[in-house]
């Protein structure tokens, strides 16, 4: 196993081990923190496909995160009110079943990513950053000004949604569910990076003209990557909403987009487990520094600045040495 492989194994063992320990000593709050880290890591794994493999700096992934969140909020709020979403031409009921909600969240986020990607990928570089940011804001303002689903106040869900055969109200079982999805996404992104598609995408990031010359369309490769990326981040959004039993327009805000990028960069761009390291560190800092000072964002800002200026490659990149770091 390579050095990065060992680091990844240790990291995942840590993310799974901490809540197991907390479960043994009956500290449910720590389990919730670990669940939060796993879900945010999943959002980062989604972004990493676009950002790390595709080189697409999207500052609008909050759109997909929020769509996932609202997919959960809308379905579950209709189910808890016994009020169908639509009666004509076909009857559509709300649902409290996680697998159905996940499917809807992934499909909705993928569809949004297809439209946003098709428009934004006409441009590149700094235009792409700004356009994805603007699309994210568009969803944010829409969510604020559309009163049917809570507007600015958001939507609350009384009871966490269910998963067949599990008691999702038990923190450790819900953590297990989120962790399993995170592992699946990590496996998917690791396989993707080595698959012909991932190699072609990586090549399109480095020398698009050559990729075009051998008959592949860089635009189409990037669009597919962007859609997969958005879909995974959407799934994370649905889980995040379920963790809090609450969705609000904040999930769409551009700070959310910035934070998802921060997870990826803190951990290490294009490293399979980079987002896991980044999200775990972020949640830990939020918790530890948040206890020390009300103004913990200053310290987060300083740490982030130091990582960007001096520790290029993030945590995994610094520990594992130069590997497949983003250049």
């Amino acid at each position: 196993m390579s050095r990065e492989g060992w680091i990844n194994a240790l990291l995942l063992a840590g993310v799974a081990g901490v809540p197991l320990w907390a479960w043994a000593v009956d500290e449910p709050f720590t389990i919730t923190l670990a669940t939060r880290a796993a879900i945010l890591a999943l959002a980062g794994v989604g972004l990493n496909i676009a950002l790390g493999l595709g080189g697409l700096v999207s500052l609008g992934h909050a759109a997909f995160f929020g769509i996932g969140g609202y997919a959960m909020g809308i379905l579950a709020s209709h189910a808890q009110a016994y009020d169908p979403i639509m009666e004509a031409p076909i009857l559509i009921q709300g649902t409290k079943s996680m697998p159905v909600i996940w499917l809807v969240a992934v499909a909705a986020a993928a569809l949004a990513a297809l439209v946003i990607g098709a428009l934004s990928l006409r441009t590149s570089g700094v235009y792409f950053i700004m356009i994805t940011l603007a699309f994210g804001q568009m969803f944010y303002f829409f969510a604020i000004s559309w009163p049917a689903y809570g507007g600015e106040d958001g939507l609350s869900i009384y009871v966490r949604n269910g998963f067949p055969g599990l008691n999702t109200l038990d923190p450790i079982q819900f953590f297990g569910l989120c962790f399993a999805l995170l592992l699946l996404a990590l496996l998917f992104s690791a396989r993707l990076a080595k698959a012909p598609f991932g190699l072609a995408l990586n090549a399109a990031r480095q020398v698009p003209t050559r990729v075009a010359t051998v008959g592949l369309s860089p635009f189409r490769l990037r669009l597919v990557a962007f859609v997969m990326s958005g879909a995974i981040t959407g799934l994370a959004g649905a889980l995040f909403a379920d963790l809090n039993r609450f969705v609000s327009p904040t999930m769409f805000s551009w700070q959310t987009s910035g934070e998802i990028i921060v997870f990826v960069i803190l951990g290490g761009v294009a490293r399979t487990c980079g987002p896991v390291a980044g999200a775990a560190l972020f949640v830990a800092l939020e918790h530890v520094l948040g206890d020390l000072s009300d103004y913990w964002h200053i310290y987060l800002g300083l740490i982030l600045l130091a990582v960007v200026l001096f520790a290029r490659g993030g945590i995994v990149g610094t520990l594992a040495g130069r590997g497949r770091a983003h250049d």
Binding site: I129, M130, A134, M138, F141, S145, G258, V262
Partner: protein, 316 residues
């Protein structure tokens, strides 16, 4: 920063003209923000998310000085000076290490700067908003030709914004600094070889952009409350402006800013009125204002489909 939206039942000509003026006022404010962003990107190739923080610094400096001295002019001077000083310090300490980095690093480092600026301001001034009063000689309405009453202060903002635009065009096209800025945009190695101190030029351009953002913050601070986080919504609109206008083009920033200002303001009034023609009143207001809040992003998408490099953009 959006101008107040009237919940009128019908759109009269007077209301329409008022809203056009509100849109112009919003547009020239956006221009002050967008001009700095587009200059910094055009000359140094830097994407600066912390530009909104400089806007906030200007507003807070103005509110603090106005509170201490009672003078609005001194407050404006303080806003310009504080924002330019903050810009210079940030450029010397952080930004100049980012010029040769890729955009991702620039986005991240300037995102970190936002966190530091916002929390630092909250630390110094607290979480409660400050208020900056319009001075007596600029308060109250004036009667325009046609019997339209319009706040004098908003007219003054339009005047200041247009004056700054003219001054900026003159600076870029007729002064030695402007020649260097344009030369820096087209070939930075060449002007460095010709003996221009390029790093000093970069600091000056960055401080100039910061001062314009600070001025915008102070002027808007008198209409809205001065609070932490006020800069980011404006920053994002300024991004929309320069994407529409073409990054690096000051002319594009002006045209884009006026388009965005007018679209946002008029859309907020006209769309609900339009929907009222075929929907009942409350549904029309809901649908109309939800759509209006997305209108400028739709405008941006349309411009990009038509011209992926913006209206006045040059190929990168």
């Amino acid at each position: 920063m959006p101008a107040p939206r009237h919940k009128a039942i019908s759109v009269t000509p007077i209301l329409f003209i008022e809203q056009v003026l509100n849109g112009l006022q919003f547009g020239v404010m956006l221009f002050l923000m967008a001009a700095g962003l587009t200059l910094v990107f055009g000359v140094m190739g830097l994407i600066n998310l912390a530009h909104g923080s400089l806007y906030m610094v200007g507003a807070f400096a103005a509110a603090a000085v106005a509170g201490a001295t009672g003078s609005f002019l001194l407050a404006l001077v303080a806003a310009l000076a504080a924002a330019a000083a903050a810009g210079t310090i940030v450029e010397l300490v952080v930004i100049r290490r980012l010029y040769h980095r890729d955009h991702l690093d620039q986005v991240l480092a300037t995102f970190a700067l936002i966190l530091i600026f916002s929390e630092g301001t909250r630390w110094v001034f607290g979480s409660f908003p400050l208020y900056l009063n319009i001075p007596d000689y600029l308060s109250g309405p004036v009667t325009l030709p046609g019997g339209i009453e319009y706040p004098l202060y908003r007219l003054a903002i339009i005047g200041v914004g247009l004056a700054v635009a003219v001054g900026l065009f003159w600076l870029v096209s007729h002064t030695r600094l402007g020649i260097r800025i344009r030369a820096g945009e087209s070939d930075r190695e060449m002007i460095a070889a010709l003996g221009v101190d390029i790093s000093k030029l970069y600091t000056v351009v960055f401080a100039l952009g910061a001062a314009l953002a600070g001025l915008a913050g102070a002027l808007v601070g008198a209409i809205q409350s001065v609070q932490v986080g006020m800069g980011e919504p404006v920053l994002i609109l300024a991004f929309v402006v320069i994407v529409i206008g073409g990054i690096g083009s000051i002319k594009g920033a002006l045209v884009g800013a006026l388009m965005v200002g007018l679209t946002d303001t008029l859309g907020g009034v006209l769309l609900p009125a339009l929907f009222r023609l075929f929907l009942d009143n409350s549904a029309a207001t809901t649908t109309g204002s939800a759509l209006a809040s997305m209108l400028i992003y739709i405008l941006m998408a349309v411009v990009l489909i038509w011209r992926p490099r913006g209206l006045f953009g040059v190929a990168a």
